[in-house]
C-alpha cells in the first residue's frame, strides 16, 4: 500500500508541475524610481573613431520645442563611439525577425560593435507575463511590445524610464504618442488595424467593417483573441459601429456574439492567420497594416484598406525591463532604432508607420501607412491607459462569449 501511495504522490507532483511554475512578482507597487543609465550616447565620446554616419542629419533640427533641453543639438553631429558587449532583444518571430536582422541588427552591430542577441519567443502579452514573473529580470534587455505592456509595466514598476536624457532621439517623436505611452516605453512604430479581404471573394472591395457580419461570408471571417490587442481593437470598432464607444463596449460584445456564426477560427497570434490566407479560406479580417502589406507583397490574393468608419492606431513600443543586465547598451540600442535613418528604413522594410513625423516617404507609401501627425489625429488614438485597465475584464468576457 505504501509503495502505491508513493507512486501516486509522485505522479501527482509531476502532474502539478506545469501548473505551478511561476515566481514572485513585486506587485502593486507604485512605479519604480526612474533609473538613469550610465551616460550612453548623450555624452561626447572620448576616443571616438569618427564614423561618418547619417546621424548628422539631425543636427540642424533645433531641440527647443519640447521639454528637457539636455541633449544639445550639436551632440547629434558627434562621431559614433564604438561600444562593446551585447544587448539581448526580445521581439517577434516569422518575417519580423528577417526584417529586423536586415534593417536593425546588421547596421547596429556594424556601427556600434555591440552584438545583438535576438530572442523571438513569446507574444507581447507572454513576454510581459515573464517580465512580471521574474520581477523585472526576464533575461533580456529590450523588448518590443505594444503600448499596453509599456503602460502596465509602468504601473507595476517593472520597467526603466526612457526619456530624452538617456535616449536623445526621442525628442523628435510625436509628442501626443509619447504622452499616451508614458515614460516607460517609446513608440517606435505606429500601425493601424486595416480590413484585409480576399480580392476574388469580396468583389467589389468592402467599404465598411460591417462586411464581416455579412451572412455571405459565413465561415470565412477571422477575428482574434483578446490576448492579441488586435482582437480588442476589433471589438472596440464593433462597439462604434453599433452605437457604442470605448467607454460603452456593450454593443461591441453583442456584435462579437453575432460574429460567432461567421467565424472560421479565433486565433491568438496574427501569424496564425497566414495559413488561412494561403489556403484562401479567410475572406475578411482585421489585420495590422504592416503584416497585411507584407503578405500582399508576397503575392497572396488579398488587399487591405481603411473602411469608411475609420480605424484605430496601434502604437508599438520598446521597453527596458528594470533588471536588464546591459542597461547602457539597451539605451543605446533603443536610441539607435529611434534615429531618423533607421526609423525610415524600418518603416519601409516592415511597411509600417514610423514614430516620428519628420521623414520623407513615397506618395504610395504615405497613402497606405501612418506617416504624419495628421494621419494619427484623423484616426483618433484611443485611450491606451483605459484599454490597459479594462483589458483583463474584456478578455474574460470574450472568453465567455466564445466558450463552447
Amino acid at each position: 500500500m505504501r509503495r502505491r501511495s508513493a507512486i501516486l504522490a509522485f505522479a501527482l507532483i509531476i502532474s502539478q508541475f506545469g501548473l505551478a511554475c511561476g515566481g514572485f512578482a513585486p506587485s502593486g507597487q507604485p512605479a519604480a524610481k526612474p533609473t538613469l543609465p550610465p551616460s550612453g550616447q548623450a555624452e561626447p565620446p572620448k576616443a571616438a573613431a569618427p564614423v561618418a554616419e547619417p546621424k548628422a542629419a539631425e543636427a540642424p533640427k533645433p531641440a527647443a520645442a519640447t521639454a528637457a533641453p539636455v541633449a544639445k543639438p550639436t551632440e547629434a553631429a558627434k562621431p559614433v563611439a564604438k561600444g562593446s558587449g551585447e544587448v539581448i532583444v526580445n521581439a517577434y518571430s516569422a518575417e519580423y525577425e528577417d526584417i529586423f536582422n536586415k534593417y536593425i541588427k546588421e547596421p547596429f552591430e556594424r556601427e556600434t560593435g555591440i552584438k545583438i542577441i535576438y530572442d523571438p519567443s513569446g507574444s507581447a502579452a507572454e513576454d510581459y507575463a515573464k517580465i512580471r514573473a521574474s520581477g523585472g529580470d526576464p533575461g533580456w534587455d529590450v523588448d518590443a511590445v505594444t503600448a499596453q505592456e509599456a503602460i502596465q509595466g509602468a504601473k507595476e514598476g517593472l520597467l526603466l524610464e526612457i526619456n530624452e536624457t538617456n535616449t536623445p532621439n526621442l525628442k523628435s517623436f510625436y509628442p501626443d504618442m509619447r504622452m499616451l505611452v508614458g515614460n516607460y516605453g517609446v513608440p517606435y512604430e505606429i500601425q493601424y488595424m486595416s480590413l484585409m479581404y480576399h480580392k476574388a471573394k469580396v468583389d467589389p472591395p468592402p467599404t465598411s467593417w460591417e462586411i464581416m457580419w455579412d451572412p455571405k461570408l459565413k465561415g470565412h471571417v477571422l477575428t482574434f483573441q483578446f490576448a492579441n490587442i488586435l482582437g480588442v481593437y476589433h471589438m472596440i470598432m464593433a462597439a462604434r459601429l453599433n452605437g457604442g464607444s470605448l467607454e460603452n463596449v456593450e454593443p461591441g460584445f453583442q456584435a462579437l456574439d453575432r460574429l460567432k456564426d461567421n467565424l472560421l477560427d479565433w486565433p491568438q497570434q496574427s501569424t496564425q492567420a497566414v495559413v488561412f490566407m494561403e489556403r484562401g479560406d479567410v475572406w475578411a479580417m482585421p489585420y495590422w497594416d504592416g503584416r497585411a502589406h507584407y503578405y500582399v507583397d508576397q503575392g497572396l490574393p488579398y488587399d487591405f484598406l481603411i473602411p469608411k468608419e475609420g480605424s484605430i492606431p496601434l502604437v508599438n513600443s520598446l521597453i527596458i525591463p528594470k533588471g536588464a543586465k546591459n542597461v547602457e547598451n539597451a539605451y543605446r540600442f533603443v536610441d539607435f532604432w529611434l534615429s531618423k535613418e533607421i526609423q525610415r528604413s524600418w518603416a519601409l522594410g516592415y511597411t509600417v508607420g514610423p514614430g516620428r513625423g519628420d521623414l520623407d516617404f513615397p506618395e504610395e507609401f504615405k497613402k497606405r501607412h501612418i506617416t504624419s501627425e495628421e494621419d494619427i489625429k484623423k484616426m483618433g488614438p484611443p485611450d491606451y491607459d483605459y484599454i490597459a485597465k479594462n483589458r483583463p475584464a474584456w478578455t474574460e468576457r470574450a472568453q465567455r462569449i466564445m466558450a463552447r
Partner: protein, 277 residues
C-alpha cells in the same frame, strides 16, 4: 538515519520544484486584484468567484467529467491489454508491449498534433466516414477531441499500473478456483478481478490526476474555445494577468487531486484487505 539520507536529494528536488511554487501560488491566491494589478492582501474572493461563477464552475465540472471519463475508459480498455501482457505466451507479446510503451517515447505535443491531423474536418477519420456516406463529424475544437486525445496519451499509465498488480496475482489462484468448480469467467470475476482492484484503482487515480492537469492536449485539440482548469490557469497567468485567480484554481485543483488520491488509496487498501481476509 541512513534511509532518510537516501531520500534527501529527491526531497530537496521536490520541495524546491514542487512545494515552493505551489506555496507561491497559494500566497497569490489570496492577494487582491484590481484593473490588472495585483496588491498584497488577504481575500477569498477569487475562490468564491471560481466556485460560484457559472463560467468558471462549468470549466471545473467539465474538467472533472473529462478526468473521470478518461480515468474510467483507460482502465476499461487497458485491462484486457494488461491481462494479455501478463498472461499470454504469444510471441506477439513483445510487440504489444512495444506498442503500449511507444507513445511514451514521443512528446505529448507531437502525438497530439498527430491526432489533430487525423481528426480534422478534412482529416483521415472524416475521409473514412465520408467513404461510407457518413459525417463529417466535428472532432476537434470540442471536448470529444480532447477526450480522444487524452485517452490515448494516458492509456499506457493505466496499463502499466494494472500490469503491476496482475503480476502479483499468481496464475495458480485462478487454476485453483477453476479446480473448485468455477468457470473461467467466474474465476476471473471472483478471484483475479478483486485481487487486481488496487491496480485498477491506482490506474484510475493516476489518469484522473494527469487529466486534471493536462495542458497540451486540451489546448491543441480543444483550440481556444474549449477550457479546462489547466488551460484556464495558463490564460489567467499570461493573458488576463490575474495571478490571484490562477492561484485559486491551482489550489482548488490540487485539493481535488489530493482528495481523489486519498479516497482511492483508502478504497484500494480496503479492497486489497477484503480479499486477503
Amino acid at each position: 538515519m541512513r534511509p532518510f539520507l537516501l531520500l534527501t536529494p529527491s526531497l530537496v528536488y521536490l520541495v524546491v520544484l514542487c512545494f515552493v511554487p505551489d506555496a507561491i501560488m497559494l500566497a497569490f491566491s489570496v492577494f487582491e486584484y484590481r484593473d490588472g494589478v495585483i496588491y498584497p492582501g488577504f481575500t477569498l474572493e477569487h475562490y468564491i468567484k471560481f466556485l460560484t461563477d457559472d463560467f468558471y464552475l462549468n470549466i471545473l465540472l467539465r474538467t472533472l467529467y473529462l478526468a473521470v471519463g478518461v480515468g474510467l475508459l483507460t482502465v476499461i480498455i487497458g485491462y484486457p491489454v494488461a491481462y494479455f501482457l501478463v498472461r499470454s505466451r504469444s510471441r506477439w507479446k513483445g510487440a504489444v508491449l512495444m506498442l503500449v510503451l511507444m507513445p511514451l517515447l514521443a512528446s505529448v505535443v507531437v502525438r497530439t498534433y498527430g491526432w489533430l491531423v487525423l481528426l480534422e474536418p478534412q482529416g483521415l477519420v472524416n475521409q473514412f466516414l465520408g467513404f461510407f456516406g457518413l459525417g463529417p463529424v466535428t472532432l476537434i475544437r470540442n471536448y470529444t477531441g480532447v477526450f480522444i486525445g487524452l485517452v490515448h496519451v494516458y492509456l499506457p499509465y493505466s496499463i502499466l499500473s494494472i500490469v503491476a498488480s496482475l503480476q502479483s496475482v499468481h496464475p495458480n489462484l485462478e487454476l485453483a478456483a477453476q479446480d473448485l468448480g468455477a468457470g473461467r469467467f467466474e474465476a476471473f470475476r471472483r478471484v483475479t478481478l478483486p485481487l487486481t482492484m488496487p491496480g485498477l484503482v491506482t490506474g484510475f487515480a493516476l489518469t484522473f490526476a494527469l487529466t486534471l492537469s493536462a495542458f497540451a492536449t486540451p489546448r491543441i485539440l480543444g483550440g481556444r474555445t474549449v477550457h479546462t482548469t489547466a488551460t484556464q490557469i495558463y490564460d489567467q497567468m499570461l493573458f488576463l494577468l490575474n495571478w490571484p485567480l490562477a492561484g485559486a484554481i491551482v489550489v482548488i485543483v490540487l485539493v481535488i487531486s489530493l482528495l481523489v488520491i486519498w479516497v482511492t488509496g483508502r478504497a484500494s487498501a480496503s479492497s486489497g484487505r477484503a480479499v486477503v481476509v
